[in-house]
C-alpha cells in the first residue's frame, strides 16, 4: 500500500530541509530590520557570505555520506589562501598557474587524509584532526606567520607595494547586473560538481554504499579504499577552492583564515538533513542547509543582535529547525 505521492513527498528529507529554511525565512519576515530583509541585496550578500562555508560543506557532504568526517578543511582554507596570495602577489605567477598549484595542493592534502583513513585505517576523526593541525602549521610556515598582502617587506624593514592582480577583482566581483557574487557562482559550481559525482558517476553509488555498510560494499566488489580516497581528495580540492575564494575576498592570504570553518561546514550538512552516520543524504540537502544557516546569520546581523544573544539564538534556532524536521518525518 503506497501512500499518495503528496504524502510521500512531504516525508522526504528535501521537504523537511525546506521546512527548516521556511521556518528561518518566517523569522526573517517578522524581524525584517526596517524592510532590509525584503531587499535582494541583503540576500545577495548573504549568499556571498555563505559561499566559502558552502563550498567546504560540499566536500564535507561527500565525506559524510562515505561514512567519514573531514576536520581539516578549515586549515586547508588557511593554507590555500596563503599559497594563492604568495603565488599571485609576491611571486607574480600568472593566475592560471597559481590556481592550478593551489588546487593541486588542496587535493594533495585531502588525498593524504584519505590515505591515512583508507590505507592505514586511522579513524577519520583522528586522521583529519591531525591533518587540521598539520595544515595550519604548514600555512603559518609558508607565510612566515604573517598575512600575505600587497605590502612586501624587505630585509631592511622597508616596504614596497604590488598591485592587486586582475584575478582578485574577477573573483570578488558581481555579475548579472550586480545581483550575484562570483564566489556564489563558484559555490553553485561546487554543488553541481558534487551532484554529478554523487548522482551520475558510478563512484557516487560507491560513496553511498561505502558509508551505508562498508563490509557489504567490499564484499559486493566496491573499491572501498579508492572511494574514500576520492571523497577526501575532493574535500581537499573544495577546501582549496574555498581558500582561493577567501583570499580574493580579503585581498590577502591570512594564515589564520578558515579557523573553525569545518564546524560550520558540518553544521550546514547536518541542518540540511544529511546523516552523520553516513550512507544517506545528498548535496541538495547541503544547499538547503547553507541557505538556512546563511539566512539565520543574516537576520541576526541586520537586526544588530548582540553577540551573547546571537550565539544563544543560533543554538536555539538550529535545534528548533532540526526538531521541526524530525516532527514532520514522524
Amino acid at each position: 500500500m503506497n501512500p499518495p505521492p503528496l504524502r510521500r513527498w512531504l516525508a522526504t528529507p528535501a521537504f523537511r530541509a525546506l521546512l527548516a529554511l521556511a521556518f528561518v525565512v518566517a523569522i526573517g519576515c517578522a524581524f525584517n530590520a526596517g524592510g532590509a530583509f525584503f531587499h535582494w541585496s541583503t540576500h545577495r550578500d548573504m549568499l556571498r557570505q555563505v559561499s566559502v562555508y558552502g563550498i567546504l560543506a560540499c566536500g564535507m557532504t561527500l565525506v559524510i555520506i562515505s561514512g567519514g568526517i573531514d576536520l581539516s578543511v578549515g586549515s586547508i582554507v588557511g593554507l590555500c589562501a596563503v599559497l594563492f596570495a604568495r603565488e599571485t602577489l609576491h611571486e607574480g605567477q600568472p593566475a592560471l598557474a597559481a590556481l592550478g598549484l593551489v588546487l593541486a595542493a588542496g587535493a594533495a592534502i585531502g588525498l593524504a587524509s584519505g590515505t591515512l583513513v583508507a590505507r592505514f585505517r586511522l579513524q577519520p576523526f583522528v586522521a583529519t584532526l591531525a591533518m587540521m593541525v598539520f595544515a595550519r602549521g604548514l600555512a603559518k610556515w609558508v607565510s612566515g606567520g604573517q598575512k600575505i598582502s600587497q605590502a612586501i617587506q624587505h630585509p631592511d624593514g622597508s616596504f614596497s607595494y604590488v598591485d592587486l592582480p586582475a584575478i582578485f577583482q574577477r573573483l570578488d566581483h558581481r555579475i548579472l547586473g550586480g545581483n550575484l557574487s562570483v564566489v556564489t557562482l563558484v559555490f553553485l559550481g561546487c554543488v553541481l560538481l558534487s551532484w554529478l559525482v554523487l548522482e551520475k558517476l558510478r563512484y557516487g553509488r560507491y560513496i553511498y554504499a561505502t558509508g551505508g555498510n562498508e563490509e557489504a560494499a567490499r564484499l559486493s566488489g566496491v573499491p572501498v579504499a579508492r572511494t574514500k580516497l576520492l571523497a577526501y581528495g575532493l574535500s581537499g580540492l573544495f577546501g582549496a577552492v574555498g581558500g582561493i575564494c577567501q583570499a580574493v575576498q580579503e585581498q590577502q592570504g591570512d594564515p589564520e583564515a578558515g579557523s573553525t570553518y569545518e564546524l560550520t561546514a558540518i553544521a550546514i550538512a547536518v541542518i540540511g538533513g544529511n546523516n552523520l552516520m553516513g550512507g544517506r543524504g545528498g548535496i541538495g540537502l547541503t544547499l538547503l542547509g547553507a541557505l538556512t544557516i546563511g539566512t539565520l546569520e543574516k537576520i541576526l546581523s541586520i537586526n544588530a543582535v548582540g553577540e551573547s544573544s546571537r550565539l544563544m539564538l543560533t543554538g536555539a534556532i538550529i535545534v528548533a529547525a532540526v526538531l521541526l524536521q524530525r516532527r514532520r518525518a514522524g
Binding site: 541583503t42 600587497q150 580579503e250 553577540e307
Partner: protein
C-alpha cells in the same frame, strides 16, 4: 658565617632591583620571551620588533616561545624559562590572574621580568610596558568628530552617523577602545547607528558592514577597533558602491597593514597601538646592566593620515 649574611642580603637586594653581576650563560645574556599568541599580526610584529632591536646587541641571546593562546601553556613556558635560569624574562601575558604566579615566581627567584602589553596582578615584576587603549580610542573619537564636522551638511546641523565595528567585546582592548571613543563623542552631534562585534576578524567585519549598509542608507564614518576590520568594512562598502561616501578609521597602524591601507586611501586614519618590542629590549639592557628602571611605562602612539603617513605619522597630542 657573619660574612655570609651581608652577602646574602646584598644578593637579595640585587634580586629585587633585578641587577646582576654578569651573564650566567658563557658571556651572553639569555633572554626568554614568552608570547601568548602568534596568531595575530600585531603580536607577530611585537616579536619582530624585539628581534630587530636585539640584533644591535650581539651580547643578547633571545629565546621565543609561543603559547598559542593557551594560558596554561604560557604558564608552563614561563616555568621552563625559570628552570633554564634565563637572565631576563619578557612576558606578554594572555591574561592577568593565572599568569601572575609564574611571573612572580621568576621575579622572586631573581630573574627580572618585563611585562608587555597586558598586565599581571600585584607588584612582583620589574617593569610593565604598555599603551593606553582608552587614550587611543579617545584620540580616534576626537579625530572622528573633527573630521565629521568638516562635512558641510553636518556643519549645517545634520547629526553625523557612525558605524562602530568592535573587537571582541569580552577582551579589555575592545572595551577600552569602545569606552575611549564614546567618551570623545559625548555631547557631540554624532550618533552610532550600528554596532557589531567582529571579534577582531576581517571576514566578520565585512559581513557586519554589509548588514549596516543594508539597514542604513546614510553612513558617514566607520570606526573599527582594528585595521583588518576597517579594511573588511571598506570592501563591503566598495561592493555596494558606497565606499566614497564613507570615512574609514581603524586602530593598530602596523607598517604592513594599517599604514598601507592609509597609503592606499582605503582608510583615512589609523591609530597606532605600539607593540613596545623595541622599548622592552632597551629596558632589558638597562636592567641587565644594573640600572634602575621605572615600574611602569606608558607608550605614546602615533596616528597616520593620508597627509602624514609618508613622513612616519604624528604623535598623539
Amino acid at each position: 658565617m657573619n660574612k655570609a649574611i651581608p652577602a646574602l642580603l646584598a644578593l637579595a637586594a640585587f634580586s629585587i632591583t633585578g641587577a646582576q653581576a654578569a651573564p650566567k650563560h658563557g658571556g651572553r645574556w639569555i633572554i626568554g620571551m614568552s608570547q601568548c599568541n602568534l596568531g595575530e599580526p600585531w603580536r607577530v610584529q611585537m616579536n619582530a620588533d624585539i628581534r630587530k632591536a636585539a640584533e644591535a646587541h650581539p651580547e643578547m641571546g633571545l629565546i621565543f616561545k609561543d603559547a598559542q593562546n593557551d594560558t596554561l601553556r604560557q604558564r608552563a613556558q614561563i616555568e621552563e624559562f625559570i628552570d633554564a635560569d634565563v637572565d631576563l624574562l619578557i612576558v606578554s601575558p594572555k591574561e592577568a590572574a593565572p599568569l601572575t604566579p609564574p611571573v612572580a615566581a621568576a621575579f622572586r627567584k631573581g630573574i627580572p621580568v618585563v611585562v608587555l602589553d597586558r598586565k599581571v596582578l600585584g607588584d612582583d615584576f620589574t617593569q610593565f610596558i604598555g599603551a593606553d587603549n582608552r587614550r587611543i580610542g579617545k584620540a580616534a573619537g576626537e579625530w572622528a568628530v573633527r573630521r565629521l564636522l568638516s562635512i558641510p551638511e553636518v556643519k549645517a546641523g545634520r547629526r553625523a552617523r557612525i558605524v562602530e565595528l568592535t573587537g571582541l567585546m569580552t577582551s579589555t582592548p575592545g572595551q577600552d577602545r569602545l569606552a575611549g571613543f564614546h567618551a570623545a563623542l559625548q555631547g557631540r552631534p554624532v550618533d552610532i547607528v550600528f554596532s557589531a562585534d567582529t571579534q577582531w576578524l576581517e571576514p566578520r567585519a565585512r559581513e557586519e558592514m554589509e548588514s549596516a549598509l543594508a539597514v542604513n542608507p546614510l553612513i558617514d564614518l566607520v570606526y573599527a577597533h582594528n585595521d583588518p576590520a576597517a579594511h573588511g568594512a571598506y570592501l563591503a562598502a566598495r561592493a555596494a558602491g558606497r565606499e566614497r561616501d564613507i570615512i574609514f578609521v581603524g586602530i593598530d597602524g602596523l607598517p604592513q597593514e594599517g599604514q598601507v591601507y592609509v597609503r592606499q586611501g582605503v582608510l583615512e586614519a589609523s591609530f597606532e597601538y605600539p607593540t613596545g618590542g623595541r622599548e622592552a629590549v632597551d629596558s632589558a639592557l638597562r636592567i641587565l646592566r644594573g640600572e634602575a628602571v621605572p615600574k611602569q611605562v606608558t607608550l605614546n602612539s602615533r596616528f597616520f593620515t593620508r597627509d602624514n603617513v609618508a613622513g612616519g605619522g604624528e604623535w598623539l597630542p
